[in-house]
Structures are given as structure tokens and as C-alpha cells.
């Protein structure tokens, strides 16, 4: 190395620098030659194109993916509508144009000026939307007077149309104009101000599939902004079409049945986890969101005490009440606390410490075994099972059965519910767990909170002998040309098995026998749901909103409406080979048996009516 180093001296470097200089000068010559070509040889032509900025981009809106039900019934469509726009740079003087617009289509000038002022910051060449959805009559007038209205244009946009007003509104969701935060977030690539994006439900969760891709056109315009020549076109790409798992006739039946009450219904195929229907009442009109809603309309929606904007099936949290007894039975048998022959005596109440815990049936059930306890929902039986188990063992079973955490359905703000443990209470309230509280937990009252969808997954798992499915709402996704992109049946991962119930086959058989008797025995709490020809199994629940004190002699029926109990019913049918699982909750519906069970019965009849 050393002997070479001396030879790479300054003289040698100087020689190499000459080459560098030559290269650099050559590049500068190329740059100057190119500038000469652009500015002097082609200068005239470019000067012409630069006047009035002749070359412009126009965007082409993609058509959003359509939404179908599981059998291909179209439920969400797009209709064309027309936006009146103006390009400020072309519409000069702007006052003149606005006055003309007032003459032709009668829009007050002050409104238009306000719209223009609001868009002060944006480029003079970006079209400003003056009025959305002007209708075909106004469109004809504008087209006829096109040459009198320089800078004014009409933009055709596909608008979302929800075919069945209010139907499955919470599941499908709605669109809204993209806001500045969403634009900045970077999550909506390819979107610009004024675009509509999914804000709720499937429309939001599957936004990336549905949206499609903007296209555009490079055009040359003349001095009044009219297109003279189209230079380049990139077609918009339509969004993917989505087939939901819901069965539209069943969905509509569910909504009819919920008419007039606040509550939710969800229906699942227990063999697959497909959601067949999901209704939350009261509902809202999705089309109103797309058209743009007034302040008053919006306020009345969000201040409505029955919370129409909430999807009660996945966002509503309620104490599970007696439907929780399924968990208590599973825990009791699996832990060896009871078996099928264990009986307890129910005198109508259970004394624990210095408190008397009452059974819902004041006269008592007498001696009951586990099957009868489920069938007749004997509280005293479960008080004793719960007491033997303790709160933490109960909580472990509840969580293993999928309660207390989101099911993983891909919908907005799914609530997780709450399964209390002794440690939890200590952490959150600072007070130690009282043994008596365990008794309330065992019958699903107390701190327990579940969502209807969790209960649906649970009852489905009981029905299918223990498989806990993640509920799926999408059956398949296809491109606009019909190429399959996603199919829930296609691969094993798509059908997500979230786990198994922590219960043996024998335990589940016992539970199922109890649930069968609920509906099919004369003393069963949901005998009302019995239908000749269809074997239904289920469990009622009644959520006490006023605690059942020992000396409280008032009856549910006499309470003020907002203090009346919530009614639950979870069910599946046919009992031996289940094809449908249903959860119903009716807020302030009083009794699970009277308010919720008939709804489930009608749904099962509707669904199985066709297949039996």
C-alpha cells in the first residue's frame, strides 16, 4: 500500500479533476439546451397553454361497492345525483354569475356567496360546490344556459341509496362527508375534501373494500372553463361489492317485531357463526345522513332517550339476569359442586347471613334438581350453587364462555361487558367482596354486564355442543366484475373459532335438556314460546332495575315505565339439530317470558318455516 500512496499525489488528482470539469460542463450544456427548447422554440405554445391555465385535472368519482344480503338481494345501491359547482377563476365577475343562477334556478344569492366565502382558502381552480343534489329539472335549465354561466358546472356523483329505509341501519351504517381530521390521518389514501366515507357499521369497517379508486381526466379548457379536449383519462375503479350474512326477509321480520319498543334482536347460524339478522330499535334513516341533515334532526336523534344511534346488539350492556344461569350450571357441574341428581329445597327464599334472598316465585319451587331449576328458573337453587362456587370461579367460567370481552365482530364500539371478580371490586371500589354479592352474581344480577351479541355467541355454542364462533357479518366480497376477493366459506381462518365452552358433552346435554324444558314443559318459564312442530330450547331473563327487597310487595307490572325490568330471551331451534340461535332483549319489557320470548318464537317460525 505504502509504495502506491506516494504516486497518488496532487498532480494525479489534478489530472482526474479535469475529467470531472468536462462532465459537469457537458451536463450544463444539456440543461441549457433543454431550457432553450422549452422557452424559446416551444415558448409560444406553452405561453398559450399557461394563459387561463388550460390544462386541468378533473376527478372522476368511483362508484361505491354495493351491498347485498346473503341470498343476493340488493340492500344498498347508488343513484346518480347532481352537484352544482363553480370554478371561481372562470366565473368572472362572480356577482354576475350568481345573479344569473338566481334567475334560472332561484337559489338566493346570499346563500351562494356564503358558500364561496367559506372556500376562501382553496385554489381558484378547484370547483366549489354551490348546491348539492339540484335535481333533474334544475340540471336541464343549467345545461340549456351553459354559455351564459361561465365557470358553472354540474358534477355527477353517485350517491348512496339505502333501499329499505331504517332496515339494518346499525349493521350497515351510513356515509358522511370526510372531515379534516380524517383527511389528515392518512388512513383514507386517495380521498379528498368533499368525498363521502363510511362513518358507521359495515360502511365504515369495510370502507377500504367499498370505496374504490378515484379516476381522473387531464383536459384542456377554453377561457370560460368549457372542456375543449380530453388529453388523458384514467378510469375510476368501482369499489368491491359486499354480500352480508344477513337474511333480508328475516331482518325485516325482526324489525317489525321490535317496532315500538327499545331493544335488540340478533340471530345467528349456530353451525357457522353467520349473523342472520341484527336489529336494534329504535332505528334511524340512513338516507338522511347522506342527504345531509339539519341541526334539529341531528339533535333530536342524539337526544332521544331510546338512543336510536346506538347498536344495542353490540354496544348495549345489560345484566344477563337469569340467562346467566347457564354459566352457573356449567360451572357447578364442571367443578363438581352439583351433579344431575343434586336437589335443593326452595321455600321461596334463601337465608344467607342476616339477609333473606328471595326467589322470583314467592311460594317457592319445592325440591328442585338442576334441570327443573333451569326450566323454572329457580333462584334459590342457583344461590346455593353460586355460594358453593364463589365469585372468582364463576367469573372464570363466564369469561371462558366468552362473556366480559368483545366477541370480535367487526362493528363499531363493541362493548366488552363486565364479569366481576373479588379483585376487580377491590380495585375499583376499594371495598372487599361481600359473600352475599356472589348470590346475586349467580343469578346474573349485581355487577354482571353482557351484550346481546355475547349472549348470542353463548347460546349458539350451547346449541352446537360447545364451539364458540366469532360472529361473522360478511359472507363474501367480490370485485365489481364479480371476481371473488373474500369468501367466508373458503378457508378455515375465515371461520374463526374463538374457543370452546369449558364444558363436557354430558354437562352440555344436561343444560340443553333444561333449556328444552324451559319452552316445552308446562311449568317452563317460556312455555309461551312453544310452537307445535318446531322444537325450541331457550332461557328467559328478567333484569330487575329495582332491587327485590324482602319486604317489597310491589309487582313488576305496577312500576313506572322506566323502572320496569328488561326482558331477555335466548333460544335455539330445532333442539336436536339447531339451525338458528336467537337473542332478544326488550328494554323495560317487564318479563323475559312475556316480552322477549314471543319475538324469538316468531323469528324462528319465519326462518324455519321455509326449511321445515
Amino acid at each position: 500500500m505504502g509504495k502506491y500512496l506516494k504516486t497518488a499525489d496532487s498532480g494525479w488528482y489534478r489530472q482526474r479533476l479535469t475529467g470531472v470539469v468536462l462532465c459537469i460542463v457537458a451536463v450544463f450544456v444539456v440543461l441549457i439546451a433543454r431550457l432553450f427548447y422549452l422557452q424559446i422554440i416551444e415558448g409560444e405554445e406553452f405561453r398559450r397553454l399557461s394563459e387561463n391555465n388550460c390544462i386541468r385535472l378533473q376527478s372522476i368519482e368511483p362508484s361505491r361497492g354495493l351491498i347485498y344480503d346473503r341470498n343476493g338481494i340488493l340492500i344498498v345501491d347508488n343513484c346518480p345525483f347532481f352537484d352544482l359547482t363553480v370554478i371561481l377563476k372562470d366565473a368572472r365577475p362572480i356577482e354576475h354569475t350568481i345573479e344569473k343562477l338566481f334567475q334560472y334556478i332561484n337559489i338566493p344569492a346570499s346563500d351562494l356567496m356564503r358558500k364561496i366565502k367559506r372556500n376562501k382558502g382553496i385554489s381558484f381552480y378547484t370547483p366549489v360546490v354551490l348546491k348539492r343534489d339540484i335535481g333533474r329539472d334544475a340540471l336541464a335549465v343549467i345545461e340549456a344556459h351553459k354559455f351564459d354561466l361561465s365557470g358553472v358546472g354540474v358534477k355527477v356523483r353517485p350517491r348512496r341509496h339505502y333501499i329499505n329505509r331504517r332496515s339494518a341501519a346499525h349493521l350497515i351504517g351510513y356515509l358522511g362527508e370526510i372531515n379534516s381530521n380524517e383527511l389528515k390521518s392518512g388512513k383514507y389514501s386517495g380521498c379528498r375534501a368533499g368525498d363521502f366515507i363510511g362513518k358507521f357499521g359495515v360502511e365504515r369497517a369495510y370502507e377500504d373494500f367499498l370505496r374504490g379508486k378515484h379516476g381522473g381526466r387531464q383536459v384542456e379548457v377554453n377561457a370560460t372553463g368549457q372542456v375543449v379536449r380530453i388529453l388523458e383519462t384514467v378510469e375510476a375503479q368501482a369499489g368491491h361489492n359486499i354480500f352480508l350474512t344477513i337474511d333480508q326477509p328475516l331482518q325485516q321480520k325482526a324489525e317489525e317485531l321490535l317496532e315500538g319498543v327499545a331493544g335488540a334482536v340478533a340471530v345467528m347460524d349456530p353451525t357457522t357463526g353467520d349473523i342472520l339478522a341484527m336489529a336494534s330499535s329504535p332505528s334511524f334513516d340512513q338516507n338522511a345522513f347522506v342527504k345531509g341533515m339539519s341541526h334539529e334532526e341531528w339533535n333530536s336523534l342524539i337526544s332521544n332517550p331510546f338512543r336510536p344511534m346506538e347498536n344495542k346488539a353490540v354496544q348495549g350492556e345489560y345484566p344477563p339476569a337469569s340467562t346467566y344461569k347457564i354459566i352457573t350450571v356449567i360451572a357447578g357441574i364442571e367443578e363438581g359442586v352439583i351433579d344431575e341428581n343434586t336437589t335443593f329445597y326452595c321455600p321461596g327464599h334463601y337465608k344467607y347471613g342476616d339477609r333473606k334472598f328471595r326467589c322470583w316465585k314467592r311460594t317457592g319451587h319445592g325440591s328442585v334438581n338442576v334441570i327443573r331449576a333451569l326450566a323454572e328458573s329457580c333462584d334459590v337453587f342457583f344461590y346455593q350453587v353460586g355460594q358453593k362456587l364463589g365469585v372468582d370461579r364463576l367469573a372464570w367460567y363466564a369469561k371462558a364462555c366468552g362473556l366480559g370481552s368483545p366477541t370480535g365482530i367487526n362493528l363499531d364500539n363493541e362493548a366488552s361487558g363486565l364479569i366481576p371478580t373479588a379483585a376487580w371490586k377491590n380495585r375499583y371500589t376499594g371495598v372487599a367482596w361481600q359473600k352475599g354479592e356472589t348470590l346475586s352474581i349467580a343469578i346474573g344480577q349485581g355487577y354482571n354486564l353482557v351484550t346481546p351479541i355475547q349472549m348470542l355467541v353463548l347460546i349458539s355454542a350451547v346449541a352446537n355442543n360447545g364451539e364458540i364462533y366469532t360472529p361473522s357479518i360478511i359472507k363474501k366480497i367480490e370485485t365489481a366484475e364479480g371476481k371473488l376477493v373474500y369468501d367466508v366459506n373458503n378457508s378455515r381462518e375465515n371461520r374463526k373459532l374463538a374457543g370452546r365452552l369449558p364444558a363436557s358433552r354430558q354437562t352440555l346435554e344436561l343444560v340443553k335438556k333444561g333449556l328444552w324444558e324451559v319452552v316445552n314443559k308446562r311449568h317452563g318459564t317460556a312455555n309461551i314460546a312453544h310452537v307445535d312442530g318446531i322444537d325450541i330450547s331457550g332461557k328467559t331473563g328478567t333484569v330487575q332495575l329495582v332491587s327485590r327487597k324482602t319486604n317489597d310487595n310491589t309487582y313488576e307490572e305496577d312500576r313506572a315505565p322506566h323502572l320496569k325490568a328488561h326482558a331477555w330471551f335466548v333460544a335455539y331451534a330445532p333442539s336436536d339439530e339447531p339451525k338458528i340461535a336467537v337473542v332478544v332483549i326488550v328494554e323495560h319489557g317487564e318479563h323475559g317470558s312475556s316480552a322477549a320470548a314471543p319475538i324469538a318464537r316468531e323469528l324462528i317460525k319465519t326462518y324455519l318455516g321455509g326449511t321445515l
Binding site: L31, F46, L57, K120
Partner: protein, 367 residues
Amino acid sequence: MFDRRLLEHFDWALLGVTFLLGCFGLIILYSAVTAGVPTPQKVLCIKQVVWYCVGLCAMVISFLFNYRMLDRWAHVIYAICIFLLIAVFFFGNYVGGARRWLILGPVSIQPSEIVKIAVIIILARYYSKLANVRGLVLRELIHPFILTIIPFVLILRQPDLGTALMVVLIAGSMTIFVKIEKRSLAYIIAFCTGSIPLVLYCLKGYQKQRILTFLNPDRDPLGAGYHIIQSKIAVGSGMISGKGFLKGTQNALSFLPEQHTDFIFSVLSEEWGFLGSLIILMLFLMLIIIGLNIAYKCREPFGTILSMGITVMISWQVFINIGMVIGLMPVVGVPLPFISYGGSSILTIMICIGILMNISMRRFIAE
């Protein structure tokens, strides 16, 4: 202690050209952020002036000490810069889909700009000790290759293709300058050409599309292709003498926000025409010639290679940026030195000028 020769050999011509480019830069920037824009952002001009002041201080600092210190400290400087790049990776500010900026109190800096100097310094150190008339053989090139590939990958991941390519171009030019041994060069060329089909084979469809669009912007008429058309219209419409200061109209079109950063040359050409563009080009050429002359006059290898590396960096930025604006080069984000808006870019170029002055002043001082 103060050596009078330092002052005698101060490079006034370099200072003069720098001053002129800085002034023109501010004038053009003012036009770019005000003329025909619905919301003028004059505050950017003020920020740029502040950055020039900071840059001036950095320049003075860069010529006060003996540049041979850089030889000794090369590894430390390199390590700090790489550390900053890694910091960007974790704490960088996320803007428009890329992580490029580090927020340090009131200012945000772009370490990828400064890292270019560190690469030049460390390569100058390495080559000054190794170079010989036979040329470098493959084994000797492994070290510089690693030194280059680290910042390249880090910058590419930000992602900032333009700056990443700059690092490779600078390192490549410096390596060719100190000469690669003939057979080694043949191997390298053979390997590169041989691996092209393999890389193309491995790339996914959309990546291939992106490369094709990069090489030919017309494939993307709504994005890069549209920018290029508008940029060409702006440049061409300037004709001989331009439309006049603040009279540009293409500004108003929607190829914001690049018009005050990467596409600023189009504003210059539109408003000042062929003559204005020629003046700026000549100033850049003068700057480059002065830089190469410093390399020429310097009598020890480290100074020669260092000044050559800095000059070559400025040249590449000028070529790529202007080439892009006038439709000769693909669209990549490379700022035009002195003129494009951007604090880190100004700071970097001023440090470079300072180092050039440093080398020029101390050419008579022996180690």
C-alpha cells in the same frame, strides 16, 4: 497565533457567489409563496431568512477550525449522524406518510440532509489513505460500500427516495474519482447488469409499476405526469425574458405544495424567462468551478477528495432538481440548493460552503 495567510487566502469569490445565490433564492421563494396563491405564506420567507442566518453561523464555524480535524473526527461525526437517522426512525415526526423530521424544541430538522456531509467526510478520510494510481480493488471497496449502504437503507425506509439516491450518487462519484481498478470495475458493472433481471423478477407487480412510473411520469397522468406537464408549461411560458416578478400564473394550480420546495425552479423560469434561468445556472456553474478549483489547488489528498465530494454533491442536486423540473429526469424529491424552501437544506449547503472556504484558506498550511 493568528496566521495572516488565512485572511489573505480567504475565498471572496466563493462568498460572493454564495451571497448572490442566497439573495436570488429568497426573491424566488417570495414569489413562489405569494404570487397567484389563494393564501400567501409569507411566513415561510421569514423562516428561510432565519435559516440563512443560522446557516451563516454554521458556515463561519465550519471555517474557523482546521479542516484536518474533520479527518480525525470523521467516525464520530458519522456515528452521530447515523444515530440521528435511527432516532428519526423511532421519534420522527410523521408528515404525509413519511418520517423525516426530528423535532428539537422550536425547530424541526431533517437528519438525512446532514448525513450527506458525514458520508462525504468519512469517505474522504478512507480514500485519502488508500487511493493509488492503480485504483481500488474490490476488497478495498467493501468498507466504503458498508459506510454508504447504512444511511442509504435508513433514508430509504423513511421513505425518502430522493435523498437516499443522492447518498449513493455522491459516494459513487467519489469512488470513481479516486479510481477503481480496471478488473474490479468490470466485475462491478457485470454484477450490476446481471442482477437487474433478477431484481425485476423478484419485484411485485405494483412495485414494478412504481418504478416504470418513476422512469416515465407520463404513465401517471393524474400525479407525477400532471406535475411535469404543469412544470413544463410554467418553464416554457416564461419565454425569453419571463412574465415578470410576481406575475407567474402556474403557481395557482394545484401542484402545491412542491412549488416552493422541489419545483421552485419552475417559478424562476416562468417569471424570469430564459435569461433569468441562465443567470442562475451560470451562478451554479461558477460555484461548482470554484469548488473544483479548491480541490485542484489543495495539496493533500484528504482536502482534495473532501472538496471534490462536496462540489459533486452540489452538482448532482442541481442536475437532478432542474432536470426534473424541465422534464429530463424522473420526479424525485431533491431540493435545489440555496433556492428551495427548507431549513435543513440551507443549513447543509452553508456548512458545505464553510468547509470549502476552510480548505481553500488552509491550502498553504502544512500539517
